[in-house]
């Protein structure tokens, strides 16, 4: 009983922080940055599920983030250009006379909105079917997902006339009829992102505490045993992977109005790894850890680079190394660590995993 109450209290406190405290304390500029961090947090929640719970080190979430982001940005660019007109960069770099066929459906707002989530999920489904059925896992899975991110970024860069190349899709002015220059509308975007993050945390919470969640952890810790119990581990992993991809897609889609740009620089190998680093710092197996870690890392990046513009990358590196060396369970494990110390009970001798799992399931 008490873990449920605690989780609900956690949700309540988060909601108050996001909807009341942050908008009151932060100016428009900082609130806009927080919206960006929350987008990264949504990706992190998905990675927490796939990696922390499912043991799949997804090093290529940038692909799904990018698919969602580009789907949204393509629609917004078309809406900005107005019916019958081409987005600015196409006439500049592509010298196109007509819209490429694969841009056409994105003129429809409903198609574009659905695509932001369903497109990444479909890609993840197809990919996952191939990968998990063939029992690819561990480092091979990580390398494969990373190669995919690299390939996708190179593909986008090469098609300058139709994707904007390295520039990406920039200069997004409107969001379904609302002017993004207006601070009030930007504030609205922040609220939408915050609602989305809470909703994703809610979904993940449900998944984690369901029978499926138990099964996912079981697959992580002993895939063969689960197979002999009569379950198909491939399907179990597939669900977590597809859900994580959908979350990354949603985050990408929200990132576009929040920041106003989507480019290959956000979906390649480096950003994909940065997503994972946030999760590792926060604590991958818990519910709140990945989101907190992603926000903390993104915030630290901004804060450090403003204080020490010419040396901040060293501090950032330190920030990654220290928690991973001294706090393998991430920030989220601090709570249980403190509690254990206070209880003065000897720390569990075996490994960190079982207590972490129970903690997260709470």
């Amino acid at each position: 009983m008490s873990p449920r109450v605690r989780a609900l209290a956690g949700f309540g406190i988060t909601a108050v922080l996001l909807f009341a405290v942050a908008p009151l304390l932060l100016g428009d500029f900082r609130l806009g940055l927080l919206a960006k961090y929350l987008c990264f947090a949504i990706v992190a929640v998905g990675i927490g599920l796939a990696w922390g719970r499912g043991g799949m080190l997804a090093l290529g979430q940038g692909v799904f983030f990018g698919l969602g982001g580009y789907a949204m940005a393509m629609h917004l660019k078309l809406a900005d250009a107005g019916p019958g007109n081409l987005p600015d960069f196409m006439t500049l770099y592509g010298q196109l006379d007509a819209l490429p066929w694969w841009w056409v459906p994105f003129q429809n707002p409903i198609f574009a909105l659905l695509a932001t989530v369903l497109l990444p999920m479909t890609v993840a489904l197809l990919l996952g079917l191939l990968i998990f059925r063939r029992r690819v896992r561990g480092a091979y899975f990580a390398i494969l997902s990373q190669a995919l991110a690299a390939a996708f970024a190179i593909l986008l860069i090469g098609q300058q006339g139709t994707t904007g190349g390295t520039n990406g899709l920039t200069d997004i002015r409107g969001f379904f009829g609302y002017d993004l220059n207006d601070p009030v509308n930007r504030r609205m975007i922040y609220f939408i992102v915050a609602v989305a993050l809470l909703a994703m945390l809610g979904i993940t919470w449900q998944l984690m505490r369901s029978r499926y969640g138990e099964l996912l952890v079981a697959v992580r810790d002993g895939e063969e045993r689960v197979r002999f119990l009569g379950y198909d581990p491939a399907n179990v992993k597939l669900v977590a992977y597809v859900v994580a991809a959908g979350m990354a897609g949603l985050a990408g889609a929200l990132f576009v109005p929040a920041v106003g740009i989507i480019s290959p620089a956000l979906i390649g190998v480096v950003p994909s790894i940065e997503f994972v680093i946030g999760v590792a710092v926060g604590g991958r197996a818990s519910l709140a850890g990945p989101a907190l870690g992603a926000i903390a890392v993104a915030w630290a990046k901004t804060a450090l680079s403003e204080r020490v513009p010419s040396a901040w990358t060293y501090f950032e590196g330190l920030l990654f190394v220290l928690p991973i060396v001294f706090l393998p369970g991430g920030i989220a494990s601090l709570v249980s660590l403190v509690r254990r110390r206070r209880a003065a009970a000897p720390p569990p001798a075996v490994d960190q995993r079982p207590p972490l799992v129970r903690e997260g399931a709470a």
Binding site: N181, P183, S305, S310
Partner: protein, 419 residues
């Protein structure tokens, strides 16, 4: 029990979201045309000094180039402060790191404008970073001075372009090749916006001027594998190579070029992204005799340049060369000063008005530069240089007078299909 709680939770979240969204409905896109949101950036002139923003990549792949630009801007700021500042106020530079990452550039530009309330921002190098910050400056009605040669086809009312546009660098380079009797070229570039756009222009020029383009190859940014491309270049038998590679790739390309037996005499390479700083890092043994196209070299003659080179070396070290983008960045601070002084104000619209009225000039290290009020670009003399074995670049040809900027190449009949 749990089910109820879950539902109640969902209801709370949804209703909170709805309330937030309802109370937060701002202007529609259609309204903004009539009444632009916000009156534009406010410059903080309350203190004894006024802030200016320096936005360069101090980390990441572009840092090696952009740090030199930041240094040149800081030199100009120090000189101006020592001479009494602008309109009686000292300049306080606020430096931000764009980290070679386009969204970071946008974030930092916004920070400089809304948190620091700077009078103008100087910086950006890659076209992608400029494209990322352009909407930020337009939205906030703030000023950016962009100091690097670029691919043209742009004219933002809130950006001053103090580097060359295509008709001040690429077109003169092609004119030079044509006058030197080169009838065919091979195009090699990094895979991003500038090379792809530059090559489009080169192909249009070649078609109209009886030049043959024998091949066009792109390497990913940062690529160091050039044996295939160099073999293709060699097999093509072109009379010259037009090189738009960026950064490290040049090292690998020129090494491969030399080891395949190609020389500056048999097949010269014209590079548009290799300046003195890059010559140093690539190595003169690979580059001696090759051509570059810029508007300024460390060896450019004139009292203004002697003073600039001397001051730069005194501040940063005798082994540090000066280059075109550094000179353009240094000049941009002085051009902004001239505009502000003519306007008698730091207010952005007044500074812009002073520039568009024309007559903003500065005796720059590259020679006299004039701001073209209509395009917010700068009149610049085009110079072709030959890389010497001492690492410096000697001018072999120049356009004789500053060339009028034409970012959309409107005055060239062969370029009609390009923009």
């Amino acid at each position: 029990m749990f089910r109820n709680r879950g539902r109640r939770l969902a209801t709370v979240i949804v209703s909170l979201g709805t309330v937030a969204a309802l109370t937060a409905c701002g202007a529609k896109t259609a309204d903004s045309a009539a009444a632009p949101a916000g009156g534009g950036a406010v410059v903080d002139t309350s203190g004894a000094s006024v802030k200016i923003g320096l936005l360069n990549s101090l980390s990441g792949t572009m840092a090696i180039s952009e740090v030199t630009v930041r240094d040149a801007i800081q030199l100009a700021v120090e000189e101006i402060n020592a001479a009494g500042g602008v309109l009686g106020k000292q300049l306080t530079p606020v430096s931000e790191d764009g980290a070679s990452d386009w969204p970071t550039f946008a974030e930092k530009a916004q920070k400089l404008i809304s948190q620091d309330k700077v009078a103008a921002v100087f910086g950006c190098w890659t076209s992608s970073s400029r494209k990322a910050v352009k909407p930020v400056f337009e939205k906030n009605k703030a000023l950016l001075f962009y100091p690097v040669q670029y691919e043209g086809l742009e004219q933002s009312p809130y950006i001053f372009y103090t580097g060359a546009t295509t008709n001040q660098q690429i077109v003169p380079a092609l004119d030079y090749l044509k006058s030197a009797g080169k009838t065919s070229v091979y195009l090699v570039g990094s895979d991003y916006v500038f090379p792809r756009t530059a090559n489009k222009i080169i192909k249009a020029y070649a078609a109209a001027n009886g030049m043959k383009v024998l091949g066009e190859d792109y390497a990913p940014l940062g690529s160091t594998e050039f044996s295939t491309i160099v073999n293709k270049v060699k097999a093509s038998g072109a009379s010259a190579v037009f090189n738009t590679l960026n950064g490290d790739s040049n090292v690998a390309f020129f090494k491969e070029y030399k080891s395949s037996g190609l020389t500056a005499e048999s097949m010269p390479v014209v590079s548009v992204s290799i300046a003195e700083e890059e010559v140093k890092s690539i190595g003169t043994q690979y580059l001696a005799g090759q051509l570059t196209a810029w508007n300024y070299y460390q060896t450019t003659e004139g009292a203004a340049n002697d003073k600039f080179v001397k001051a730069y070396k005194a501040k940063y070290g005798a082994d540090k060369p000066t280059s075109d983008p550094m000179e353009a960045a240094y000049t941009s601070v002085y051009l902004w000063k001239a505009m502000a002084e003519k306007a008698g104000s730091f207010e952005i619209e007044k500074v812009k008005a002073a520039a568009s009225a024309g007559g903003i000039t500065y005796e720059a290290p590259e020679g006299l530069v004039t701001v073209d009020g209509a395009t917010q670009h700068v009149f610049k003399t085009a110079r072709i240089g030959k890389i010497g074995s001492d690492g410096l670049i000697e001018e072999v040809w120049n356009s004789g007078e500053p060339v009028k900027p034409d970012p959309y190449l409107k005055s060239y009949s062969w370029a009609t299909g390009l923009s």
